[in-house]
């Protein structure tokens, strides 16, 4: 029985599409009423005052609650089914971490409280900083960046400031592999660098010869994630770091794929100078849907004074905030994402050293098991042993049956699974990228492979209409063209959609 794993979302997502709140609206209904005015009414006379009433939906409180509860139940989630979204590390988030984070002594802490009243919270940040440095092989960490891309920008601004202070401003080029996440070149440009792309070789690794050609006296640094975006371990990482360091550049580690190597190898030992970690991915805090996340940046000793501050230090048996001397400044106002950091610390403590030591190994084991099954159905993009994720390609099916990666992803939804990542990395045509994480059972992995086999066979049938998939969900395939051409961001603009349909 193919169901979508042990926890199928199908019973919850069936049925008709949920109407919009506008369709549920009826004039005069209210979810709550304002009290009667007990002060004299004052007429506001201002040119910016709107002449007409805002067209807000009018519904009763019960209708409102039911509407959003139904939508919530139909939302796919890590807690409902298998979410093999490559590059996103959608692992299970332990409830225990949530229960600690909801303790009022953490949850109700005001960010402006003075140090002497927040020693516990400061200790949390100090401790996780030490753990993170131990895991990544770095010396000092800052918890200022609230997300992964912000961590990237932080790392690049650190490189920039370091070059400025050391009078190396001729170094303006950041090297990024062609397989990298789009955020890498974007962050480099945002920090004011020029982006130079290095090609990937046939095995899916950085092309060392091409890298040597590109590196010169203007090289400021290299951005890399290892294992790389194809899910493969860069075997020549020590050579790569030597090439960059010999040219006076710095190495930046994108923590996107840290989950594969936790407990096994450390970016610091590979030669990286700056590392960002996505606590929300690798250390199992809820993510997706806009955050907050936590993208702490850790550096080697010689870059400590460039970190964004404040950072927590332990001095005279007290924890206090410390502003590094050449700090790049703040990445956001307060440490408002503190509870994400706390959850990550709880996760680390739950696993303990033993658990963390085997984390990456289990993530890789699950991915290799799944890839051994999936590769019999659709071929791997690179015939190499994968790390925590692997990339497949349906380019042959596209030629023979016009089946695109998009169609496979959509059909998989019918079986109660979230789609794997599609069309990424960009250098693999019709890519489907699977990342099971260590928290899925063998039965769930088997179930995904069985479902994939069935849909690939179904989609090749002669009378099939690919656009019909998904068939079992309340909402079918969305029209992606209309929103791309006629973007409607205002609730009242629905009429435009109706016209264009």
């Amino acid at each position: 029985m193919v169901s979508g794993g042990n926890a199928s979302s199908l019973p919850l997502v069936g049925g008709k599409p949920e109407p919009t709140i506008k369709e549920l609206s009826s004039p005069g209904r209210r979810a709550s009423n304002f009290p009667k005015l007990d002060v004299p009414e004052v007429k506001i006379n201002h040119e910016s005052l709107k002449k007409e009433k805002a067209r807000l939906p009018e519904v009763s409180e019960h209708d409102l609650v039911m509407h959003y509860s139904r939508l919530a139940h139909r939302n796919f989630a890590v807690d409902l089914g298998f979410y093999p979204l490559g590059s996103c590390t959608m692992k299970y988030n332990p409830r225990f971490a949530d229960s600690i984070a909801s303790d009022s002594r953490f949850a109700n802490m005001h960010p402006s409280m003075p140090e002497e009243f927040t020693q516990g919270c400061l200790k949390v940040m100090y401790e996780i900083g030490n753990y993170l440095c131990e895991i990544t092989g770095m010396d000092y960490a800052s918890f200022q960046p609230p997300a992964g891309a912000s961590g990237e920008l932080t790392g690049l601004l650190i490189i920039k400031k370091y070059l400025e202070i050391n009078n190396l401003t001729n170094k303006t080029e950041i090297i990024v592999p062609d397989s990298a996440h789009g955020t890498n070149p974007a962050s480099a440009r945002m920090a004011g660098f020029t982006v130079v792309e290095v090609e990937t070789d046939d095995r899916g690794m950085v092309n060392i010869e091409k890298l040597k050609d590109i590196v010169n006296e203007n090289t400021a640094g290299l951005m890399l994630t290892n294992p790389n975006t194809g899910g493969l371990f860069e075997e020549e990482i020590l050579t790569i770091s030597q090439i960059i360091h010999n040219a006076g550049g710095l190495l930046y580690y994108d923590g996107a794929n840290l989950n594969a190597i936790v407990g096994t190898s450390r970016p610091g030992d590979m030669g990286f100078d700056i590392v960002h970690s996505n606590l929300h991915k690798t250390f199992a805090t809820p993510h997706g849907g806009g955050g907050p996340g936590s993208g702490p940046v850790a550096v080697k000793e010689f870059l400590k004074e460039y970190l964004p501050g404040p950072i927590v230090q332990n001095k005279d048996r007290k924890y206090n905030w410390y502003q590094p001397e050449n700090s790049i400044g703040r990445m956001h106002g307060y440490h408002g994402n503190f509870l994400v950091t706390l959850r990550a610390l709880v996760y680390m403590k739950l696993l303990g050293k033993e658990g963390l030591d085997t984390l990456g190994a289990y993530a890789v084991l699950n991915a290799r098991y799944l890839s051994s099954k999936v590769s019999k159905i659709i071929p791997l993009a690179y015939d190499e042993p994968c790390m925590h994720e692997f990339v497949t390609s349906v380019k042959d099916l596209k030629k023979s049956h016009k089946i695109k990666a998009y169609d496979v992803g959509k059909a998989l939804l019918d079986k109660g699974f979230h789609s794997p990542t599609i069309y990424f990395p960009l250098i693999v045509p019709e890519a489907l990228m699977f990342e099971p994480t260590e928290t899925q059972s063998k039965e769930t992995l088997d179930d995904l492979a069985d479902s994939l086999k069935i849909i690939i066979s179904d989609l090749q049938q002669e009378d099939i209409v690919l656009e019909d998939y998904p068939k079992n969900l309340p909402v079918g395939r969305p029209n992606e063209l209309i929103p791309a051409k006629f973007l409607t961001v205002n609730w009242g603009d629905f009429e435009l959609l109706e016209i264009t349909e």
């Binding site: 069309y423 992606e480 063209l481 791309a484 051409k485």
Partner: protein, 120 residues
Amino acid sequence: MSDIKYLETHEWYLINEEVITVGISDFAQNELGDIVYVTLPEVGQSFEKGGAVVEVEATKTVAEAYAPMDCTITEVNSQLETEPETINNDPCGDGWMFKAKVNAVDDSGMTYQEYETFVS
């Protein structure tokens, strides 16, 4: 149409005396899917061979069309600004992107047959 030649980066060009007309191939528009926006160059702008001339935005991705040879823009297909889907419907006809005066002739593109082999 026999004079149309193709590049490995999926543009087509047609040389007519000193002027080239450039667009993207049927294969390219098919790979991109529904094209929703096109950023065209300014008339008078000069490009070196391989320079990015046009930005093509599809629902999933953004791609660039490159100059097949050193050239200076003389005319752009402004119809594409309001009807970018013309590229999907007729990539090698009404979906042409720009015309340009050739500054250094480089007629090294592939023939239709060669391009067909290249993309298959």
